[in-house]
């Protein structure tokens, strides 16, 4: 039997193509040089990070998690705690520990610190939650989201409770977001071709056989959980720096469901699906918004009523899932010659 090429050389095309797609989008933003357009692209990049984070856990383990946006919340607040100028912190968040109150760390320290913090918390939650399977695991992750949200909505001295936390340095350059997105895609790719990723997918498809072959399912799930929380936490921190304001209700059900639907529409079991799902849906949303504002076609201005965008995106998602129940990309990944089975 001829020797097969290594897994790396067989699959490297996927992250390269996705990276090129993201580069093209970043260059487009640069070419346009318009503020709101740049911000839209930053928004898309953050979405890609969040959905890739979801993919790392959900795609590989097959367990739907409703709790990951909780890690986004942890990340966003962590970077807020570290990067807000000390005088503002002392006024708004006096309950923070002394060394955090005095700290004024730059953006590029805050974001990785936030990611590590989210991963750490995920480790403790995961130790318990990853023993569960199926719907019990999903509901337990949802309970975790509710828990995080309640703590952050009520811990007045430390999180400002439901008030907006302001003073987070805003970064409107596209590059940090672009680089972070590439890193997230690289992490997602590296995990999926790793030994742990392979074992977890085996457990997803055939739990009994995988366990019989020596796969420690809770342990592999925990690994994926922590890595995905790292990505989600970083995404949350970047969100905080892109808008400059965080509140607990931003990171709750709304964001959970839109991120999950982007993953499902793109293709739950595929990294390419995660990235392309976000890019495609975000694009459709932008086009619809443009029509809400009115588009001049010759002499007539074509306008759709405000709010149609939300309805239309729902209909589009239903149609996509009717036609392709496994998502746009399904379980496949992009390669040089089209799609291959993941």
């Amino acid at each position: 039997m001829a020797e097969r090429a290594s897994i790396l050389s067989r699959t490297i095309a996927t992250p390269v193509i996705l990276g090129l797609l993201l580069t093209a989008i970043a260059l487009l933003a640069l070419l346009m040089g318009s503020g709101p357009f740049n911000q839209t692209i930053i928004d898309i990049f953050i979405r890609v990070i969040l959905v890739v984070g979801l993919y790392i856990f959900i795609g590989n383990s097959g367990v739907i998690s409703f709790g990951h946006i909780g890690f986004t919340c942890l990340g966003a607040y962590m970077t807020a705690w570290l990067t807000i100028p000390p005088p503002m912190k002392k006024m708004a968040l006096p309950g923070l520990p002394g060394f955090v109150l005095e700290a004024k760390l730059p953006f590029w320290v805050g974001v990785p610190a936030a990611a590590i913090f989210a991963a750490l918390i995920a480790f403790f939650f995961g130790k318990i939650l990853m023993r569960l399977s199926g719907i019990a695991a999903s509901i337990a992750t949802f309970a975790m989201l509710a828990l995080i949200n309640q703590i952050y909505s009520n811990w007045e001295d430390v999180t400002g409770a439901t008030s907006s936390v302001v003073g987070i340095p805003i970064n409107r350059s596209i590059w940090p977001y672009f680089v972070a997105t590439l890193v997230a895609v690289a992490i997602g790719y590296a995990y999926s071709i790793s030994r742990s990723g392979l074992a977890l997918r085996a457990a997803r498809d055939e739990a009994t056989a995988a366990a019989a072959s020596g796969v420690d399912i809770p342990k592999e799930r925990l690994r994926a959980f922590v890595i995905s929380a790292f990505v989600m936490g970083g995404g949350g921190a970047l969100y905080a720096h892109s808008v400059g304001v965080v509140t607990p209700d931003t990171f709750y059900l709304g964001l959970t469901f839109i991120s999950l639907s982007m993953l499902v529409v793109g293709g739950m079991g595929s990294l390419s699906g995660a990235v392309i799902g976000v890019v495609l849906l975000s694009t459709i949303i932008q086009i619809l918004r443009l029509f809400e504002k009115g588009v001049a076609l010759g002499d007539t201005v074509l306008t759709i009523p405000n709010g149609v965008q939300e309805i239309a995106i729902g209909v589009i998602m239903i149609v996509i899932l009717m036609r392709r129940p496994a998502g746009l990309i399904g379980n496949r990944e992009v390669g040089w010659k089209g799609f291959r089975k993941a």
Binding site: S164, T250, V279
Partner: protein, 398 residues
């Protein structure tokens, strides 16, 4: 590539290209950008004040414009979403906005205001009533067009003390929003300044509580009944609270913030009496200033309906004070206009005098009309300005 793939990429590119078509403003115009909610729940708050702002802009344009230039309006929808708010702020700035008007609420308006601040533009919150909506929470170019919530609480306390001879106060706080807490903060600040006035009891509830029976029982079992109840709450929960207080036979005057202004909800509490609200202007056609009544008529003519509450008025005030500052600065340059705004001391407007300083871009004192609802009919009975301004330090510490 599959069909889907091609389709996806095609859409991606076309979408990105399309959404980038943005207009740039000419130099012979002054541009006001509204980064406000045209959809989502904030629209109910933003739209009326924005309509009032448009009326003032229209008046200025008909009178020859500002610095001889016509004011042009550009808008972007925040969709009642913070991330979209930041984008909307950037979008109106991109379209050349000299003034960026942001959502009524601090939480939803601040992303756009921060975008304006970092671009060095003036931002105005349509009607935010938190000290954060300004220098303290956004930066030195940010203002709010309304009056701080604590001023409402302080006004009601001082007015009831002087005009209703109230000495024993009861404080009932709905902990739902910063706005509610703000009203009670102002009340708390004023109370120790009123000789012989005391708090005979206090309690809290949540806006969503279906029943406040426990709180009512505690009021009724007080050793001395209060002369007035300071109710720090807002729609929609406040209506049920008022109904329950009155149904329990408590007839003491109820003092409120401006959030309960409007007659749209009064049918839910038939024959409500002894109920007092501070307002910046009257929507009931009995404002002591005839120009306010004329404005109400104009508003009805433009929008097809009477103002639903006093929160329409700050939009008009906002354009008024900003335009005056631009005239005086002879420029729309942000720093020059901010300097002129900060010189305003009791600047007369249709809805009471306005002051700004380099310390505070909000009203920590202001004239309020007092509206009494008697047998379900609201009317203006008095006006009151608190004897001293609430110190900035106190406001910030809350």
């Amino acid at each position: 590539m599959t069909l889907w793939h091609k389709l996806g990429m095609g859409m991606a590119v076309s979408g990105l290209v399309l959404s980038a078509t943005l207009a740039h403003a000419d130099d012979d115009k002054i541009v006001v950008g509204f980064a406000t909610a045209a959809s989502g729940f904030m629209q109910a708050y933003d739209k009326p004040a924005q309509d009032a702002a448009m009326i003032k802009i229209d008046e200025i344009n008909k009178a020859g414009g500002l610095l001889g230039k016509q004011i042009e309006v550009v808008t972007a929808d925040t969709k009642t979403d913070r991330a979209e708010g930041a984008k909307a702020g950037l979008e109106v700035i991109d379209k050349g906005a000299d003034l960026v008007v942001v959502s009524c609420d601090y939480d939803f308006g601040s992303p756009a205001a921060l975008a304006a601040e970092s671009a060095g533009k003036i931002s105005f919150f349509l009607c935010a009533e938190s000290i954060k909506a300004g220098i303290q929470g956004v930066g030195p170019h940010s203002f709010s067009a309304s009056v701080l919530a604590p001023v409402q609480g302080a006004t009601m306390a001082e007015w009831a003390y002087n005009k209703k001879n109230a000495r024993k106060f009861y404080r009932l706080l709905d902990t739902w929003t910063e706005y509610n807490k703000g009203i009670c903060d102002g009340f708390d600040w004023m109370l120790p300044r009123l000789k012989d006035a005391k708090l005979v009891g206090e309690d809290t509830f949540k806006n969503e509580d279906a029943s406040i029976a426990a709180q009512i029982t505690r009021i009724k079992s007080l050793p001395e009944q209060p002369d007035a109840i300071m109710l720090c709450s807002m729609m929609p929960g406040v209506v049920s609270a008022i109904k329950q207080i009155r149904a329990a036979g408590i007839t003491a005057p109820i003092l409120n913030g401006s959030g309960v202004d409007g007659s749209y909800w009064l049918s839910a509490v038939p024959d409500l009496s002894n109920f007092f609200t501070p307002v910046q202007g009257s929507i009931y056609g009995d404002d002591p200033n005839k120009d306010v009544t004329a404005f109400n008529a104009k508003y009805k003519e433009v929008t097809g309906a009477d103002p639903s509450s006093q929160y329409v008025y700050p939009g008009y005030v906002m354009i008024d004070v900003w335009a005056k500052a631009v005239e005086r600065a002879k420029s729309t340059d942000a720093d020059a206009v901010v300097a002129e705004l900060e010189k305003m001391k009791d600047e007369p407007t249709l809805f009471g005098p306005r002051s700004f300083s380099s310390e505070i871009h909000h009203q920590n004192r202001g004239r309020y009309l007092i509206v009494e609802t008697d047998k379900g009919k609201p009317r203006v009975i008095d006006e009151w300005t608190i004897s001293e301004a609430i110190p900035v330090d106190y406001l910030v510490s809350k």
